[in-house]
């Protein structure tokens, strides 16, 4: 084969193409210009121009969450790099594979406080899985290969490649070689669990009286949905998913007790509290799950499957720890359960108990039929209407706050990778750019962004990107004219002192705003008009529709765990609670 001579910039883009990347999200600037020139001169990698670097990272992140493939973005040095930080941290907290390429000032200017210089390696260090500062242009293909391997293997995460401008100089060519093998020293990956651990786990599972399966984002990352469904059926016990895990077990399955944790269902939290065995799969006993860790699962033995050994025994000590890939480890367990013809009938009573809890205080999923005083719309009804119109099949992204919790509670996700939200970092502004990434990955699928009037304004500029690339996303804006979740906390814990949560008089006219970007805006204020508007919104297949829904400004998200309590201690409504 003839030698291919490339510049560093060309090598970078060519290596991305050789890594099977066909789309990247970015924003040009001085230090990245050589790279942008290389992009212009090829057609294997498409570049999507966003309006703010934060959106580039969220779009790449949304793409990664929906597809399971790494998302890629490209930003310039200085402000380009710092604007990307929120998106990198978002991906880091949720273990999402991203490769973030940042331009850097030329080598000889590093450390001189040059124009648009910032220490990207330094500021991104605590929020990346790894990072590379390119030192020689010849090493770019190997660094790209390593970056993708590190970002996608084991517990995934973001990887930064910082590229000084002089190393991408179009006039300095070298021979391009994309590596076929990689060498990484001591890069431990865990696949199957030890047989002895599997045996121990199966013993606990089959000897339990009240087991619960608690699956999180790691189960989605390892594509373990099928295995977990089979496992659920073999066990015949209650299954709950974390906010990050929604969809990994079908929400409409009879064994699914809903999401657990801070705003989990009554039955999921009760099952967790009363269980004598908690089987955690790709979940990390986060503080939004356990409530007070000292009061968590006191009656339960615990089994934990995680691809990251440092997640095990971090918050909660467990009885059986299985470091490995959830898909493979659950297969091992399923095999054992099948071989022994395990009879799960003994869990029937326990399953019934869970259903009894649901009957007592479960969420009402039939609110669309109810009438409200003044024809006011409750936020839950908006989610139920969106669910009904999309037949539960849409990709749903969200921002952060009450609307996010309502979406998680009321939109039933039956498949993994359909629910795209910032769980760990809780990044407002995530929803719209993430929806763009999803739409680029699945142009023929319905993509809805469920948001609030607070969050949407944090990345509203992306309405312009949606216009440029013709992205018919459906934005469902739960407009309660205030920062709803903050207001809820101020109601419940700060005596109703509403500090800095309102902006009602200065909200934009979202209809006109959407129209000014070339989209369609619709406003709904009455419950009697909600379903017709929702149908119209999704029927406009080729248009981005901004559906601005005025909802009850006083509604709270329930259940809500009592701060510092155990998992059975919940507020169930403004007047009811499970504790004294």
């Amino acid at each position: 084969m003839a030698k291919v001579m490339t510049s560093g910039g060309e090598a970078l883009i060519r290596a991305l193409a050789d890594e099977n990347v066909d789309i990247i999200f970015g924003y040009p600037g001085g230090a990245a210009l050589h790279i942008y020139d290389a992009i212009y001169q090829q057609d294997r990698v498409q570049h999507i121009l966003v309006r703010h670097e934060q959106a580039a990272t969220h779009a790449a992140d949304g793409f990664a969450r929906a597809t399971g493939k790494p998302g890629v973005c490209l930003v310039t040095s200085g402000p380009g790099a710092t604007n990307a930080i929120t998106g990198i941290a978002t991906a880091y907290m949720d273990s999402i594979p991203l490769v973030v390429i940042s331009g850097q000032v030329p080598n000889h200017l590093i450390g001189t406080d040059a124009f648009q210089e910032t220490d990207m390696m330094g500021i991104s260090r605590p929020i990346v899985k790894h990072s590379f500062l390119v030192q020689k242009p010849e090493e770019i293909p190997v660094i790209v290969k390593k970056a993708f391997h590190i970002a996608t293997s084991g517990r995934p995460g973001p990887v930064v490649i910082d590229v000084p401008k002089n190393l991408t100089d179009p006039n300095e060519k070298f021979e391009y070689k994309f590596p076929s093998d990689l060498y990484l020293r001591s890069f431990a990956l865990y696949n199957e669990a030890k047989n002895s651990e599997v045996k121990k786990a199966v013993k606990l599972l089959t000897e339990a009286e009240r087991p619960v399966i608690y699956a999180g984002g790691g189960a989605i990352n390892s594509n373990a949905a099928e295995e977990i469904y089979e496992f659920g059926k073999l066990m015949g016990c209650p299954v709950t998913n974390t906010l990050m895990g929604l969809g990994v077990y079908p929400a409409s399955d009879e064994q699914f007790v809903g999401m657990l944790g801070m705003h989990g269902t009554y039955e999921a939290n009760m099952v967790m509290h009363e269980a004598d065995l908690i089987m955690a799969i790709g979940a990390r006993f986060d503080d939004r799950i356990t409530n007070n860790p000292n009061k968590f699962g006191l009656q339960a033995k615990k089994i934990h499957i995680d691809s990251d050994p440092s997640s095990i025994d971090k918050i909660i000590d467990v009885d059986v720890a299985m470091t490995g890939n959830a898909k493979k480890v659950i297969s091992q367990i399923n095999k054992e359960l099948k071989a022994m013809n395990f009879d799960n009938k003994k869990f029937d009573g326990w399953m019934k108990k869970a259903m009894q809890w649901r009957a007592e205080h479960g969420l009402n999923h039939n609110m669309l039929n109810q009438k409200n005083a003044g024809d006011i719309i409750l936020p839950q009804q908006v989610i139920q209407s969106a669910y009904k119109v999309t037949d539960g099949k849409a990709f749903v992204t969200s921002d952060v706050g009450q609307h996010q919790m309502f979406a998680a509670q009321y939109y039933h996700f039956n498949e993994p990778r359909k629910w795209i939200n910032s769980g760990g970092l809780g990044t407002m502004g995530f929803g719209l750019p993430a929806a763009m990434g999803v739409k680029f990955a699945f142009p023929d699928e319905t993509v809805a962004c469920i948001t609030g009037e607070g969050s949407i304004q944090m990345c509203i500029q992306e309405l312009s990107t949606c216009g440029q690339y013709g992205l018919p996303i459906k934005i469902i804006n739960l407009n309660n004219r205030a920062l709803g979740m903050v207001k809820q906390w101020q109601d419940m814990q700060y005596g109703g002192r509403y500090s800095s949560i309102s902006y009602e008089d200065s909200l934009p006219d979202f209809i006109k705003l959407a129209e000014s970007y070339g989209h369609i805006g619709m406003k709904v204020e009455k419950l009697s008009e909600l379903e017709v508007a929702m149908e119209e919104c999704f029927a406009l297949k080729d248009k981005l529709v901004f559906l601005d829904v005025y909802v009850d400004p006083d509604e709270h998200v329930y259940p809500m765990l009592k701060a510092g309590g155990d998992m059975s201690e919940m507020f169930l409504s403004k007047t009811e609670k499970t504790f004294k």
Binding site: R125, L182, S186, F187, P309
Partner: protein, 170 residues
């Protein structure tokens, strides 16, 4: 007190990742020493973590998770030797320093005496050195600099140095 030995890539930024982990996760380092090894692609680092109640297993796991970290070992749980060097300056003559040390079994050496000030070095276990320093507080104590703890295991055991993992793609 835990002494941790760690082998890492001799790469720019590797040390800051190790140090950064400590501040990021809220752990404290008492002492730290780092230098290249006989393999110039690797640096070896020894650190002392004195904090009571620090979850040492969690620290070890977090350290090992860093891509640049090749191997980690808790020397305090192994059959290992540890050693620290301190250089101390006192407002004493050489003879006075010799007198002071009569009752100590430290390996020591007077390095310099100038204008009634004596610089000497002591070699010993970290805890012994700390005991010595607290004794010296009563004297006219001018300056101390310490190497931090160094250590390695005894016998046929070492931090593995050559486990390059080949990752092949079809």
């Amino acid at each position: 007190m835990n002494h941790i030995a760690l082998l890492m890539e001799n790469q720019p930024g590797a040390l800051s990742r190790v140090i950064g982990l400590f501040s990021q996760r809220g752990y404290n380092i008492d002492s730290l020493s780092v230098a290249p090894t006989q393999d110039e692609t690797l640096s070896r680092l020894t650190m002392t973590i004195g904090e009571e109640g620090a979850d040492i297993n969690q620290i070890l796991k977090q350290l090992y998770k860093l891509v640049d970290v090749v191997m980690v070992q808790n020397l305090s749980e192994a059959d290992a030797l540890t050693l620290e060097l301190a250089i101390i300056k006192l407002n004493k003559t050489k003879a006075e320093v010799e007198g002071f040390f009569k009752n100590y079994k430290f390996e020591r050496e007077i390095l310099d005496e100038k204008d009634q000030y004596t610089v000497f070095k002591v070699l010993g276990d970290t805890q012994e050195i700390e005991k010595l320093l607290s004794e010296l507080k009563k004297e006219e104590f001018l300056e101390v600099t310490r190497s931090g703890t160094l250590g390695m295991t005894k016998g046929n055991e070492s931090l593995a140095t050559n486990d390059q993992t080949k990752i092949s793609y079809d």
